[in-house]
Amino acid sequence: MTERLSPALSEALSRADAAAGPPSSLRARRRLLQLLLALATWALVYARLEVLASWLTFGLLGLDRRSSLSAAVEFFLYEAPKVLMLLALIVLGVGIVRSFFTAERTRRALAGKGQGAGNLLAGLLGVVTPFCSCSAVPLFIGFVTAGVPLGVTFSFLIAAPMVNEVALALLFALFGWRVAALYLASGLSIAIVAGMVIGRLRLERWVEPWVHGIDTTAAVSEAGMTWEDRLRLGVVAVKDIGGKVWPFVLAGIAVGAGIHGYVPQDLLAAFMGRDAWWSVPLAVLIGIPLYSNAAGMMPVAQALLGKGAALGTVLAFMMSTTALSLPEMVILRKVLAGRLIAVLVGVVGLGILAVGYLFNVLL
């Protein structure tokens, strides 16, 4: 293997070297080489998945080409490795991107920002700033006490689960850029509008009073990161998220395969199609108590769409499973009055409904 690097990569590498100092430059170079090798292998395998799945189904297992079973089996054998491989690559990329953002930096960017521009920025940062859902309350307090307006804080907290970056990337890979762009734009719009509405309503008095008495100025030290650190974070994210979601993904693909093979074409059009007006609110209501993983939902969504379900209905269902979760509301109750939570759920729920109907009408 020769050490030939593209100009962009060697430039990134030399920048990494400058940041890391000379002793680790050799190690960084070796890491980069490993990464390139892994990416090349990934691409080679990925390009042959379809051929492989059909060979396994019809050649090795010898299944009848016209049967429902072979359709389901082929769907599973093709989709399972495909979605898992995409997921690994996406999570790696997202992990690296996220290493550039921290909650502290985001808070500094948002402090003192006004309506509108502040909400937009908060929504965008909500998509990329890494935090676990159990941090919602500390983040909320940290933002509010540092002078981030309540509405802007909510735009951030709504956008984070609403526009799941892994879901976004999977949508792009499975359905194309149009659907991914619509998902991003509509999710962001809901977060921005909901935050602005909450900001306008002047609901500050519904924040539990003890919140304002807290001093959160004690700063956490932020160490600089090398490219090697960032890559390592990406790999950790793949292991972490991949390890958690693969059962959901496989279960989702199995359900998807069943739908693909056995549900007659257009059967779902009757009750999940665009003409069934009640399907959107129903999808949202079912989605609230259901906690699911966005990545696991994707293959189900794909199969549903293939059988005549309307895109808006499916999107509304996905958004409500991830954005309106019951456990999170229970945690938020600690700092917010019940009425504020009701407003939050109402505004976000209405937003999701609007997106569902909009997509069903437009597409």
């Binding site: 808070r107 676990c132 309350v137 500390p138 983040l139 940290g142 001093d215 959160t216 956490v220 700092v335």
Partner: protein, 84 residues
Amino acid sequence: VEIKVLGTGCASCRLLYRAAEEAIARSGRTATLSKVEAVEEIMRYGVMTTPALVIDGRVVFAGKVPAAREIAKAISASAVGDGV
């Protein structure tokens, strides 16, 4: 050395607690380990992302679960700083 794990009781908080236990054993120092689960108290450390690890009153890690090896290093560094 006094070590505290800040977190509202989610899965990664438990992971961090276990990693801290392992780190103490690795570092070979005597340390007390405790959990802080009340949001009010967690906020007093200026932490916005949990889980977080506090060593002798100083927030060392926030918003992630570091490897036991890294925690052990931080414990040793803190102990040296105290002149122990």
